[in-house]
């Protein structure tokens, strides 16, 4: 997975958003052990519509909530997009850019809490 990230980083850096969604497309099906993942996000990101990761208008039916702006109180697994929101929320992980480098963190405690599947290739990112 790490190698994949590095390669993707090198090839797709110019298309950061595209890179991000491709990461979600690989990461979430592994975590939820499902082919199609329903996502709720507070950001208006068009690429969610076209991907395998379906965007929903409400978090009620969502498998995961990706937070870009606000804090939210829900019982659904949350995925953060900055280190601060990762620290301040009970998110299962976070993906963000730091010093021009992509950062992926997974929270072991929360993953276990939601009984998510932890692939061997993802264990490196556990904190």
């Amino acid at each position: 997975m790490k190698t994949i990230i590095v390669i993707l980083f090198n090839i797709c850096f110019l298309f950061a958003d595209s890179y991000e969604i491709k990461l979600y497309e690989r990461l979430f099906p592994k975590l939820f052990n499902k082919k199609e993942i329903k996502v709720y996000t507070d950001a208006n990101k068009k690429y969610f519509i076209k991907s395998k990761v379906l965007k929903l208008s409400s978090f009620k039916d969502a498998d995961i909530v990706i937070l870009y702006k606000s804090q939210i109180v829900c019982h659904k697994p949350i995925f953060a997009t900055s280190y601060i929101s990762y620290v301040n929320s009970n998110s299962i992980g976070a993906f963000y850019w730091r010093k021009g480098r992509p950062q992926l963190i997974l929270n072991k405690k929360m993953i276990l809490k939601y009984h998510l599947n932890l692939d061997n290739s993802l264990k490196k990112y556990l904190k």
Binding site: K99, G100, P102
Partner: protein, 473 residues
């Protein structure tokens, strides 16, 4: 030796190509020097700043890095110091340490994208970061960022021979890339021009080679032609020499005939005088006065015979330079030779001199031609048995030329043969009287020696030979 412009052009082309190649290699060296110097100056700056920052961090934390950095005021002070060196080029300056195989931020000099204290960090090419901990040595490596090439410099912060943290410098090589790109573009243009010039040079060389071969063939052809022309000229010269020799022989024959003719009368007179003396002596009536008178006569006739010989000898000697003569003088010597012959053959000779001045002429050559033409007229008139045989010589000036016309009433020359009469070996006379060389030699003398013209034409029953010479003053 005359140098052809084409060879000068070739030499200049070679010179330009050589100079251009030299400039290209000079440019290559300069390019590498500029790129290397620019790169080195960046690295040197980063190294110096890193050393200073590392020393500051160690001095401020009193060798107990993590403990002191937990103090927010110490951290802020140090981050402020780091931020002093942050620019667009030196974008990220931060300090990380490694715990449980994870890197985490200790200090961050950034204003934007600022990391939190102890925030975990996943660097790219992590093995190089690990290497800094392992080898305790600084590391440089390049990576592509969004807009340009970046270099990451990892400086180990070593306290008590242990790497406690890494000071990281992420700096842009954008300007360096711009310089390198521009120089590379220039390099490509230069390279193209060098190859293009070499191509042109090869093309030029090929053209030169083709041209050289063509010229060589031309020279060879010219040499062959020159040789052939020389051979033909030599042949013609020999032919002319032969003709001249034949002509001379013919003229000598004619001269002997004329001398014989000239001598007939004085010899007859000498004979008469000798008989008269002999007769008087036999009669015994010889007187000293008579003897004196006859002896005077004999001396006179012998002198005449001698003069005749001199006249003929001088007549055929070539004149070395032009002489300034009256027409009468020339005609007088001609008539001395042929006058008696004309008289004996009952040919009336009329001379019309309309130009009374002297003129420059190669006398003997000219006399030879006039004599030849008069002799021709005489032969024709006798051969055709013309009654009232007449020869007229007219001399006058027309424009810048002096013109001689030798006319006879021999009935004219057939138009069919008019063009041929000046050719060698062409004669209308029988073999005994004609060699076919007289008119040919006359034409050669007039045209080549005297720089004039000779032509013939008919007027009623008159045959006219016209000679035009330039009146040189």
């Amino acid at each position: 030796m005359k140098i052809k412009p084409f060879y000068i052009f070739n030499f200049l082309a070679i010179l330009i190509v050589v100079i251009f190649i030299a400039i290209y290699y000079l440019f290559q060296n300069t390019k590498h020097f500029v790129i290397q110097t620019n790169y080195n100056s960046n690295i040197k700056y980063v190294k110096n700043v890193s050393n200073n920052l590392s020393n500051i961090i160690i001095s401020k934390t009193h060798k107990n890095l993590l403990k002191f950095l937990k103090n927010i005021s110490v951290r802020k002070k140090l981050e402020n110091i780091l931020s002093l060196f942050v620019t667009d080029r030196y974008k990220y300056i931060y300090v990380v340490d490694k715990k449980n195989n994870n890197f985490r931020f200790l200090l961050d000099g950034a204003k934007k994208d600022k990391a939190i204290f102890l925030e975990t960090y996943e660097p790219i090419e992590i093995q190089k970061w690990d290497m800094v901990y392992k080898d305790k040595k600084e590391v440089f490596f390049t990576h592509k960022n969004i807009d340009s090439l970046w270099i990451t410099y990892l400086k180990p912060i070593i306290i008590e021979d242990e790497v406690k943290a890494i000071l990281v410098f992420d700096f842009s090589m954008k300007e360096h890339s711009k310089i390198t790109t521009s120089l590379n573009k220039l390099d490509n243009i230069f390279e193209f021009l060098v190859y293009f010039l070499i191509f042109l040079f090869v093309l030029l060389g090929w053209f030169s080679y083709v041209d050289f071969n063509r010229e060589k063939e031309l020279i060879k052809l010219n040499q062959t032609l020159e040789k052939r022309i020389k051979e033909e000229i030599e042949k013609n010269r020999k032919k002319d020499e032969q003709l001249l020799y034949q002509s001379r022989l013919a003229q000598m024959g004619e001269m002997i005939s004329m001398i014989a003719h000239q001598w007939r009368q004085p010899l007859g007179a000498i004979n008469a005088n000798v008989i008269s003396i002999k007769f008087k002596a036999q009669m015994g009536k010889i007187e000293s006065k008579f003897i004196q008178e006859k002896m005077d006569n004999l001396v006179k006739y012998v002198k005449y015979l001698s003069n005749t010989i001199d006249d003929f000898r001088d007549f055929f000697k070539p004149t070395k330079q032009k002489e300034y003569k009256f027409f009468e003088e020339i005609m007088e010597s001609i008539l001395d030779i042929i006058g008696n012959s004309l008289k004996n053959k009952e040919i009336e000779l009329n001379i019309h001199n309309k130009y009374k001045n002297k003129f420059w002429i190669f006398t003997n050559e000219f006399k030879q031609v006039i004599l030849n033409l008069i002799k021709n007229s005489q032969d024709v008139l006798v051969e055709k048995e013309i009654k009232n045989k007449k020869i007229e010589i007219v001399f006058y000036k027309k424009d810048d030329n002096i013109v001689f016309e030798i006319r006879d009433n021999g009935g004219g020359i057939d138009k069919e043969i008019q063009d041929k009469i000046f050719e060698p070996y062409f004669s209308t006379k029988d073999e005994k009287n004609g060699t076919g060389l007289g008119l040919y030699m006359s034409k050669i003398i007039i045209e080549k020696h005297l720089d004039g013209e000779i032509r013939t034409f008919n007027e009623d029953k008159w045959t006219i030979f016209e000679i035009k010479l330039r009146d040189c003053k």
